[in-house]
Each structure stands twice: as structure tokens, then as C-alpha cells.
């Protein structure tokens, strides 16, 4: 009985109540829809009958993760201007998806990316290769969601350890997915978008009304060239030692993108200053471009988002859905940076915190500032942002869980291991796969307390940008692609980006002063190496700038070398991808394939 009591010590009843209601509502909706979805295809793509409005809300709901809700605010607070690239590219990446991929992919009509990979190249082998990346990208993406869960629960229950929150939330969502499937989640995700929008916008408007608006708060920070901040009447607490200076924080090329060069400690003291002065800005421009590429191309290659486009009735609806998604999430993304800006002025003590106590929790804690003036209102608004955070990591985690589970159950079990399995066996496989994937994600999540949420999501995007984006882009627009070219490019680009991201994380964890530092102590040497070679560190931390072109070049070169293996009916496939549905080509293609199978 000791443990639960410790958890409930110091819990704010309002914050607890709002969070509890969100979790209970999500679970209830999951169970309710479990009764109405019976067949396996219901589970995989929600019966393909979702309208543009519902679908756009659901995609936005699934997309706005812990990174969007908590991570952006935390990173804007810790790093300033450079962190703004994250929300902008998270939203604008959809433009690439819209311009080059959404319409054709929907017309081709396959359940998942592995389905598309197999159909486009008539190769079951390629399906197996493509499935791996659903899992790679998925697990990288679940880690920051788990950190969001750990941070939020550690905030609500001050006595709870970080890992406790990860295990609890992970187990609840895994159960929900195993019982509900995707049909339920379409409704739940759409509902959760509106909930997140409410939870981020209402508290920030109240905070701005009380403490000063976005522009006024920003005006309290002195830009480079200004001797003092223009606004002197805005309330501001003194910055702590660990916080970046005003001019570095508000201007481009700040701490986020220059940290690799600033760490060039291996050089003798007299050379250091000259080295930093010469290389800091060019390298941080390179960092910025690589980050932009990762986020913009990566959005177009996220497996759990692409699968949703198959729930559009046709290609034109897929395009309209994408545009609505950009509007819905674009409005959302204006708000989180404001939390970071106000947090810098009024809650600078978070700069000294690490892990679950650091800047990543600014969205949750900032509304409590109101408590001194308006009493319980502060707790209520903090409860609302906590509820939004729950909606954020729960919706993204369940979306990822569904696509990873789908890959395991539909591709690995249903296609590779036991193609003759009955529908009942497939349903059982789906549930078992959900539990396995959920358990692995929870274990990974317990390791990442010291990594920034937003940074980890950026890594998942970089892996997607170097694997699925080149695959989809080239397969849709170039007739000369062969299976071998596609596989070589996707595997090389994707695995190198994956390796670079993993190395960066391991080296960061090795710096930890707690137990993680001991586990990963073997990677300490890497930090010394990077201190001597800052350019290599940047290329490892943000691999997109070399990994994406590498994947594209390999695809072209290997396809040219194996040109005789271009699928025989490539013209028909291209017609299906590009011709409007009204011409009826899709139907003919299916009939042809069905006839071919009969021989």
C-alpha cells in the first residue's frame, strides 16, 4: 500500500481529474468501437469509407504527437529561433506529400507501403525489405512518445519515477489497440485533434492575456545589435546560468545548430577561438539545411500517415484531405512556440532541470503561473494541457502501434509465415503482434529520458526521408526503376541514417550522470572524436543532407545497370498511378491481375 500512497502525495486534484477523464474517454471509445468492427479489413484500413473532414481531422490527430504538443515548446525554450524549423517543416512537409505522392499512391490502391512496394515491382521479396522500415521508423518514433508519457506522469504524480509513467501509459494504449483496431481509432483520432487544439490554444490565450502577448514577450529579449530589449515593461525573471543568452536565443544559428562547433574542445586554446569564429556560421547553415530536408522529405515517408491516405475514396479526395491537414496542423503549430517564449521569460528555472524535469514539461507547468493571481484557474488550465499531452502521445502511439502491428500481422504472419491462416487466426495474430510491439516500445522508451522529445522525432523523420521518401517519389515518377535499384537505395540510405541517429543518441546518453551514463559508457570516446571533428558530428546528428541524395543516386545507378529487369507492364502501372479514376483503368488492372492469377 506504500507505493500508491507515494504516487498520490502532492497530486493536484484538478490536473489529475482532467488527465483521468481524457484517458478514460479514449479507452471507452476504443472498447465501444471494438464491438462494431469485426472483420480483418475493418482493422487494417477502416473499411475505406471515411469522408475528407473526418479523415483530415484523424490524420492531424494522429500526426500531432508528443513532439508537437510538448517537444516544440520545450525546444523553442531551450534553443530559440532554430527550433522553429521543426513546427514549420512538420506542417509544410505535407506539401511534398500533396505535390508528388498523395494522389498517385491512393489511385494505386494498396493497403500499406509494403503492399505498394510489392505491387509496383511484382516482388514479394521487396515487400519483406519494405516491411522492415515500418518497424525501424515506428520504433524511433515511439521513443519520444514514451518520453512524453514519462514526463507527463512524473509531473502529475510527483512521486512517480520516469519509467513508471512509460510502463503505465504504454500498457494502457497497447491494450486499447489490441482490442479496438483502426476503425475505432479513426473516430478517436479525429476527436483527439480537436481536443489537442483546444488544450493548446485556450491556456495560451489566457496566459497571453495576463502576462503579455507573443510579440510583447519576444520584445523582452534583446536581438543582436540591440543594446537592451525594446520592451522594458514586460515582467521577466532573471535567467539561470544554463540558459542561452538573449542574442543567441532570438537570432538564427543559435545553440541548437552551433553546438557541435562550440564543443570543439580538443583544439589548443589559442586555435579554438579562430576555429569557432571561422566555422560556426557555415556549419550551422549546413545543419539547418539538413534538418529542413529531413523534416520535409520525412513527412512524405511516414508509414503511419501514408496508410491513412488509403481511407480516401479517390485520388482527388486524397489531395483535398492533404490540404485540410495542412490547414488544421498549421494553425495548431503557431501556438506551442509561444509557450517556449513565455516560459523563457517567466519560468527560467526549467533550464536547470534535466530529463523529466527539464524544458520539455514547460507546456504542462506554465499555466500554474496563474495560480498566484487566480487560484484554481492555474490548476484547471494545467489540467487541460496535461489532458492535451495525453491525447498527443496516446493518439500517435496508437497510430504507430496499428501500423507496426499491421506490418507484423498482415505482412509477416499473413503473407510470409502462414498464408493459409483463417480470419480468426489473423485476428489473434493482430492482437499478439500488438502486445509484442507495445512491449518493445515500452522498453526502448525507458532509456530515453535524457534525449529531447523533438530531437528524437526529427531522427525518425530523417530515417523516413532516406528510405521511404526516395522509394515513393522515384517509383511514382520514374518508369525506369527496378526492384534492385529501389531496394539498394532504400536500404543503404535508410540504414545509414538509422545508424547515424542511433550513434548520436548513444553518445548523448553516455554523457548522462545517472545510470544511463554507466550503461552506455562505452560510447564516451565518440564524444571526444566529435569534439575534434565537429563537421562529422553534424553530419551524424542530421544525416538527411547526405543520406537522401545517396539513396536517390543509388536508385538511379542500380536501376540503369539492371534496366532489363524493369517490370514488363510498367506502362499499365504508371497509367493506374497517374490517370484520373474516371477513365476506369484501375478496374481493368485488377481484372487483368485476377485473370493472370487464374492460369
Amino acid at each position: 500500500m506504500n507505493l500508491p500512497l507515494a504516487f498520490f502525495g502532492g497530486v493536484d486534484p484538478w490536473i489529475f481529474a482532467f488527465s483521468f477523464v481524457t484517458v478514460a474517454a479514449t479507452i471507452w471509445m476504443g472498447f465501444r468501437s471494438a464491438r462494431t468492427s469485426k472483420t480483418a479489413s475493418d482493422f487494417f484500413v477502416a473499411g475505406r469509407s471515411v469522408s475528407v473532414g473526418w479523415n483530415a481531422s484523424a490524420i492531424s490527430g494522429e500526426y500531432l504527437s508528443a513532439a508537437s504538443f510538448m517537444g516544440i515548446a520545450g525546444m523553442v525554450m531551450s534553443s530559440g529561433y532554430d527550433a522553429l524549423w521543426y513546427p514549420v517543416c512538420y506542417a509544410c512537409g505535407y506539401l511534398f506529400l500533396l505535390l508528388f505522392i498523395a494522389g498517385p499512391l491512393r489511385r494505386f490502391g494498396a493497403y500499406t507501403i509494403p503492399d505498394f512496394a510489392e505491387g509496383r515491382y511484382d516482388s514479394p521479396l521487396f515487400r519483406k525489405i519494405a516491411v522492415c522500415f515500418v518497424l525501424f521508423i515506428g520504433f524511433f518514433y515511439t521513443m519520444p512518445q514514451m518520453k512524453g508519457a514519462g514526463v507527463t506522469l512524473a509531473y502529475i504524480f510527483p512521486g512517480m519515477p520516469y519509467w513508471g509513467g512509460v510502463v503505465l501509459v504504454g500498457a494502457v494504449i497497447t491494450l486499447n489497440v489490441a482490442l479496438g483496431g483502426m476503425k475505432g481509432i479513426t473516430i478517436v483520432q479525429a476527436f483527439q485533434y480537436w481536443m489537442k487544439m483546444f488544450a493548446i490554444s485556450v491556456p495560451i490565450f489566457v496566459l497571453m492575456a495576463v502576462f503579455g502577448f507573443y510579440n510583447g514577450q519576444l520584445n523582452a529579449n534583446a536581438a543582436p545589435g540591440e543594446t537592451a530589449a525594446p520592451a522594458v515593461n514586460v515582467e521577466r525573471k532573471p535567467l539561470v546560468e544554463k540558459a542561452p543568452k538573449d542574442s543567441a536565443w532570438i537570432a538564427p544559428f543559435g545553440p541548437l545548430t552551433t553546438k557541435a562547433v562550440s564543443a570543439a574542445a580538443a583544439l589548443p586554446a589559442d586555435q579554438r577561438a579562430a576555429f569557432v569564429a571561422e566555422h560556426q556560421k557555415p556549419y550551422s547553415l549546413l545543419y539547418t539545411y539538413s534538418l529542413i530536408m529531413a523534416l520535409v522529405c520525412g513527412t512524405a515517408g511516414l508509414p503511419h500517415i501514408l496508410v491513412r491516405f488509403y481511407t480516401n475514396p479517390d485520388g482527388a479526395a486524397a489531395k483535398r484531405t492533404t490540404m485540410w491537414v495542412m490547414i488544421l496542423i498549421g494553425i495548431f503549430y503557431v501556438f506551442p512556440p509561444i509557450f517556449g517564449v513565455i516560459g523563457r521569460n517567466l519560468m527560467p528555472e526549467l533550464y536547470s532541470g534535466v530529463g523529466a524535469k527539464g524544458t520539455d514539461k514547460v507546456v504542462l507547468e506554465l499555466p500554474t503561473l496563474l495560480a498566484s493571481r487566480f487560484g484554481v484557474l492555474g490548476s484547471i488550465l494545467s489540467g487541460i494541457t496535461c489532458a492535451g499531452a495525453f491525447a498527443a502521445f496516446m493518439s500517435t502511439f496508437s497510430g504507430l502501434l496499428v501500423s507496426m502491428t499491421g506490418a507484423l500481422a498482415h505482412d509477416v504472419y499473413g503473407r510470409m509465415l502462414r498464408p493459409e491462416a483463417s480470419p480468426a487466426e489473423r485476428m489473434a495474430a493482430f492482437k499478439i503482434a500488438a502486445v509484442i510491439v507495445g512491449a518493445v516500445a515500452i522498453v526502448l522508451g525507458t532509456f530515453v529520458e535524457n534525449l529531447e522529445i523533438n530531437f528524437m522525432v526529427g531522427q525518425a523523420f530523417a530515417i523516413a526521408a532516406a528510405s521511404y521518401f526516395p522509394l515513393l517519389f522515384m517509383s511514382v515518377w520514374w518508369r525506369g526503376m527496378t526492384m534492385k535499384g529501389a531496394a539498394t537505395g532504400m536500404l543503404t540510405g535508410g540504414l545509414l541514417a538509422l545508424g547515424a541517429a542511433a550513434l548520436t543518441n548513444l553518445a548523448t546518453l553516455a554523457l548522462d550522470k545517472g545510470p544511463m551514463g554507466k550503461i552506455f559508457a562505452g560510447f564516451k570516446g565518440l564524444n571526444d572524436f566529435w569534439a575534434a571533428h565537429p563537421l562529422l558530428r553534424i553530419l551524424c546528428e542530421q544525416p538527411a543532407i547526405w543520406a537522401v541524395p545517396l539513396a536517390l543516386v543509388l536508385m538511379i545507378v542500380v536501376s540503369k545497370l539492371t534496366a532489363e529487369q524493369v517490370p514488363a507492364d510498367v506502362r499499365m502501372k504508371m497509367l493506374v498511378l497517374h490517370a484520373p479514376e474516371k477513365l476506369g483503368l484501375k478496374q481493368e488492372y485488377i481484372e487483368e491481375h485476377a485473370a493472370g492469377a487464374g492460369h
Binding site: 529561433y81 522553429l84 514549420v88 506542417a91 509544410c92 505535407y94 506539401l95 511534398f96 500533396l98 505535390l99 508528388f100 494522389g103 507573443y214 510579440n215 510583447g216 519576444l218 520584445n219 536581438a223 543582436p224 545589435g225 540591440e226 525594446p230 520592451a231 532570438i250 537570432a251 538564427p252 544559428f253 556560421k281 547553415l285 539545411y289 529542413i292 520535409v296 475514396p313 479517390d314 482527388a316 489531395k319 483535398r320 492533404t322 490540404m323 495542412m326 490547414i327 498549421g330 494553425i331 503549430y333 503557431v334 512556440p337 515518377w477 506502362r571 504508371m574 497509367l575 497517374h578 490517370a579 484520373p580 479514376e581 474516371k582 477513365l583 476506369g584 483503368l585 478496374q587 481493368e588
Partner: protein, 107 residues
Amino acid sequence: MSHPTPPPDDAVHSESFLHTLMHRQLRLSSACAAAFLLVLFGLPLANYFAPALMATRVAGFTLSWLVLGVLFFPAVWVISFLFIRRSIALENDEVAQVQRERGGAKS
């Protein structure tokens, strides 16, 4: 949802039809992407070469912060709106063209 299946010798199966189809759509997509990339890759360059200008205060924001944190989103909505309108018009045009050719072949 069900549309009539075209006969195998239909105009849509010609090499020239596919070529025009992909070419027109790719040209539209590339034009929109170029407009987007110009802004996306231009902003870091402006920050790099004109830091003083980008640090100018506009209603409390620095110019650079205002562009990236607020104005970027509506700009992208405009590009996507124009793209969708043109792209759907293009599709309708293609369908009309094919139907005209089919009508012409019969008479």
C-alpha cells in the same frame, strides 16, 4: 465508384497519352515545389547574409521570427490551394480529351 473499363485498343493505352499525362502533372507539381523551395531554402540564406535586416523589429517580432513562426503557414496554404485547383482541372481536361477521342473514333 465503378467506371466503364476501356477497351484494350483505347487511346489511353498509347505511349503518347501516358507521356503527356505524366509530363503535365509533373510540370505542375514541380512549379509549385519550386515556389515552396525558394522560400524554404531562401530564408536561411537571408538569415545568413542579411542578419541585421532579419533582426529588424516588426511589431515586437524580429522579421525572421515573424516569417518563420507565423507567415510561413498561410504561404504554404496558398500554394497547396492553387495546386489542387489546377490539378483537378487538369484531370477533368484529360478525361474530356479521352472522351472526345473515343467519340471521334466511333464516328
